[in-house]
């Protein structure tokens, strides 16, 4: 059964010009990273048959910097050309579509009429000053020229509510992002908070293309949304702390730290905790999937994680170069205990006297590596909502 299923998946991608090797590479370490194991029970045949028609993608841009679009077009295996021509039907995406102005907004209206598309949203929605983001005038002529386009709030209400699934690319559409940082001058909110539709959140500043692609693929194959955590994030991506997956973790456990940027300690890739790393409070699989075709990632290039996948990270994680307080460290609460408890509760927790203890037992190391292999398995059991 397992072989049969995986060969079907492989065939699905090979027909679209993506080799088995490419596909596994995309998934980071292993197919488990994508949460493929629940496939065994999924309605694969139907999913693949239905995918003969490329699913319609509507990509909306609100209060954003276009960084998540930029990031998405850095995808590899499948790359942007494959995504656009073979896998999806990008029926509305302002950054790349050929028409502008009314022919473009007419495309959007067509889709809204049909419904059932995957709606990816990039950017936050201003609710206190709705006119802080307008665009997409429908119609032509003088009357259209003298009327401002619809607000993001109006567009989101119209377009997201007709979607089969709403996927929030990046921290802005997920939780409000940078413009929602205190004092949030425009009343910026994430999509779910602004219009009350349920969303799949892929936070990150920007989103990693691997997260977008694996989520879309997940949708395509399983015809349902992935299991989400309390912040609406797929568990197969955001199920574990950076800190638990980090290749520098052994140095944390050993109490070996970079004390200044650009030093010999950095050349040895010691732990960045003392430089302000927010990895112990940040859920994402960055250390596994890396960035830009696996060239590097933040910590890999000596930069402390700023926690960009966490809600309100601009307010909660700043100052970025000061060490996190209340980090449970080895020998105190223990790695595994800490890993599960910290993160969302970190900021409320008061762990007194968190001294760094060198060394960690071989048992703990082994347990951690088992955890890495099994990452993607839903610890609370059961795929689906």
């Amino acid at each position: 059964m397992a072989d049969q299923v995986s060969s079907k998946i492989i065939a699905f991608f090979e027909e679209r010009g993506i080799s088995r090797r490419d596909f596994l590479k995309l998934c980071g370490a292993s197919a488990a990273a994508l949460g493929l194991s629940p496939l065994m029970h999924g309605p694969i045949a139907e999913a693949l048959a239905a995918a003969a028609r490329r699913p319609s993608l509507v990509w909306l841009d609100f209060q954003e910097c276009l960084g998540c679009t930029e990031s998405t077009v850095k995808a590899v295996n499948p790359g942007p050309a494959q995504l656009l021509l073979n896998i999806l039907s990008a029926d509305y995406w302002e950054a790349i579509m050929a028409p502008a102005g009314f022919p473009a907004t007419a495309d959007l209206q067509d889709q809204v009429k049909k419904g059932g598309y995957i709606c990816v949203v990039e950017g936050a929605i201003p609710t206190r000053i709705p006119q802080a983001m307008t665009g997409g005038t429908v119609g032509t002529g003088e009357a259209a020229a003298l009327r401002l386009g619809p607000t993001a709030l109006e567009t989101a209400n119209q377009v997201c509510k007709r979607a089969a699934a709403v996927v929030c690319a990046g921290t802005c559409s997920s939780y409000g992002g940078v413009q929602a940082a205190a004092p949030n001058p425009t009343g910026a909110k994430g999509v779910q908070a602004a219009i009350g539709v349920k969303t799949v959140n892929l936070p990150g500043c920007p989103v990693n293309p691997v997260w977008i692609v694996t989520t879309v693929v997940h949708n395509l194959l399983f015809k349902r949304l992935p299991t989400l955590d309390a912040h609406g994030r797929p568990k197969f991506i955001y199920g574990q702390l950076n800190h638990n997956l980090c290749p520098r973790r052994a140095h944390f456990d050993a109490g070996e730290f970079v004390e200044q940027f650009g030093t010999a300690a950095e050349a040895r890739h010691l732990c960045l905790y003392k430089m302000g790393c927010k990895g112990p409070a940040t859920y994402s699989n960055c250390p596994l999937v890396l960035w830009n075709d696996r060239q590097s990632w933040c910590i890999g290039a000596g930069a402390p994680c700023i926690g960009c996948t966490e809600p309100d990270f601009w307010d909660r994680m700043m100052p970025f170069y000061s060490r996190l307080e209340n980090v449970p460290v080895p020998g105190f609460l223990g790695v595994e205990v800490g890993a599960d408890r910290i993160g969302s509760t970190l900021f409320a927790a008061t762990v007194a006297g968190a001294a760094i203890h060198a060394g960690v037992t071989a048992v703990k190391r082994r347990r951690r590596s088992q955890e890495q292999e099994g990452q993607g398995k839903d610890r609370e059991g059961g795929e689906g909502q």
Partner: protein, 509 residues
């Protein structure tokens, strides 16, 4: 009759443009930024060391420039200079971004204004790889799901390329999608990731690159350089003859500003690879000196309270949003109008190349003179004060930057091999200070101003490229650069104002 283009697609940001058309030509124009986020407000009170990450987020297409500019401004306030080796890394990342940006712009953002994809289907495919691309396009069309290509300007009489050239450009469009990602990969070797590199806090860089890292980045860079020199530049020369009409309009005010980019060891902005300077009224005599203190902003037509304008310099800037109504003869944009000594200034690759050329910079001179000759206008740089010039300048600049990047690689490799490289000078955060960083994004001049009080930011202001090019009218009703450039643009078919779109895209908004 007024026409609106909203949204202007294939750009970064949110742009709406209204033109008045009479007698088949644009007679008046308004450019509107329809987005406000409030960076100047939420940066206040924040930790100065962390601020560059936040200021970085202004633009996801030119993030590296915002990150570097912010750090320069903060380093100015802190009174610290990053070691030269750290600057070599920053220069390499900035180069990667310029190359990435120009490739992405020429093909992904710009090409559909000139390349007719439906005509490519009819071409005689002369090589197996072109045949493969054509088959792929045919299959795509046959699927009936035209997606992002539906309702393009296909079949318009303004599309002038023969089918074979359309096919070749369509093939390069697909190739460019991969090349722009390669440029980002080479940046990520030093930056951790792109967009939003993580490695340049004020004082230097966090990354300690090894010889292997540099070699890896360099091999990725070579692929980009080969594409820029072997495909993009030849494509420019191949399509230009069909669109020479673009040289005939789009001059505008012909005032040009560059703060300069790609640092020189002397830290003199007039010695940068693309140096600082200002040109006025299309005079290509050596550029004049220019200082961020000459910047003034106006909000007579923007949605901000009146004290935010009045020619205020951003070092003393103020941002208080005040959305009233949308009225073209009153308030119509979220962009303040930036001016130098009251003059609207065009920024971007054309400004940078002309300023470098005006100083007689040998690299710029060789490239510009070579292109003028190839385009059949030897010794006539004035022809570049046009839409054609704006397009050509982007490609020429990419060629120039690719040459220089090679030199940065050589120098960095030598430094790392010597074992003497230094990456970071820890800054001390002053209780009270002010700083300014003035640099360039691929799309044009960019500056960040900061004030620190009690060890926290008390002011943070920006003037990015769009505040120059897409500025609205000012106090005297003088149009912004793009508004002025649009005047005289032909509009053959008001239902399809493709010519207007072409002009807008020349600015890489």
């Amino acid at each position: 009759m007024k026409l609106v283009i909203d949204p202007v697609t294939r750009i970064e940001g949110h742009l709406r443009v209204v033109v008045e058309v009479a007698g088949g030509k644009v007679t008046d124009a308004w450019s509107l930024c329809t987005l406000f986020r409030g960076f100047e407000i939420f940066l206040q009170g924040r930790d100065p060391m962390s601020a560059w990450h936040m200021a970085h987020r202004v633009c996801g297409v030119c993030p590296t420039s915002h990150g570097n500019t912010s750090c320069m401004g903060l380093e100015d306030a802190f009174g610290v200079t990053a070691p030269w080796d750290a600057w070599l890394v920053r220069n390499l990342m900035e180069s990667a971004q310029i190359l990435h940006s120009h490739v992405l712009w020429f093909y992904t953002l710009n090409a559909f204004d000139y390349v007719d994809v439906t005509s490519a289907l009819k071409a005689k495919a002369t090589t197996p790889s072109l045949k493969a691309v054509q088959d792929k396009l045919k299959a795509f069309v046959a699927s009936g799901q035209l997606g992002f290509l539906k309702r393009g300007y296909w079949g318009s009489p303004l599309m002038k390329l023969p089918p074979e050239l359309n096919l070749e450009l369509a093939a390069h469009y697909l190739q460019a999608l991969e090349i722009q990602a390669k440029a980002a990969q080479f940046l990520a070797v030093f930056g951790g990731k792109f967009p939003y590199h993580m490695t340049t806090p004020p004082g230097g860089v966090t990354v300690v690159p090894t010889i292997e890292d540099i070699a890896n980045a360099e091999s990725l860079f070579r692929e980009v350089k080969d594409f820029v020199e072997g495909t993009m530049y030849p494509d420019l020369l191949a399509i230009a003859p069909y669109y020479l009409d673009l040289a005939g309009y789009g001059r505008g005010w012909a005032n040009f500003l560059a703060w300069g980019v790609l640092e020189d060891k002397s830290h003199d902005p007039y010695k940068r690879v693309l140096p600082r300077g200002a040109l006025y009224d299309g005079q290509l005599t050596p550029a004049q000196k220019v200082d961020p203190r000459q910047v003034g902003e106006w909000v007579n037509h923007s949605w901000y309270t009146p004290p935010c304008g009045n020619g205020r310099n951003p070092a003393d800037g103020l941002t208080v949003p005040d959305f009233t109504r949308y009225e073209l003869d009153h308030h119509y944009s979220w962009i303040k109008a930036a001016r130098i000594d009251g003059k609207p200034m065009e920024v971007g690759p054309l400004a940078r190349m002309l300023i470098a050329y005006s100083y007689g910079d040998p690299r710029a001179k060789k490239l510009v003179d070579g292109a003028l000759k190839a385009l059949g206008h030897p010794g006539q740089p004035q022809i570049l004060l046009s839409n054609l010039g704006r397009i050509a300048a982007r490609i020429l600049e990419a060629v120039l930057v690719a040459q220089v990047t090679e030199e940065f690689f050589t120098e960095l490799t030598d430094r790392v091999a010597s074992g003497k490289a230094e990456w970071y000078t820890p800054p001390k955060i002053p209780q009270s200070a002010a700083g300014v960083g003035a640099w360039e994004a691929p799309r044009g001049a960019l500056a960040h101003w900061n004030h620190i009080e009690d060890g926290k930011l008390s002011l943070y202001q920006f003037v990015p490229a769009s505040n120059w090019n897409f500025a609205p009218r000012d106090e005297k009703g003088v149009r912004g650069p793009v508004e002025e450039v649009l005047i005289g643009t032909p509009v053959a078919n008001p239902e399809q104002p493709l010519e207007v779109l072409r002009v807008l895209h020349t600015f890489d908004p």
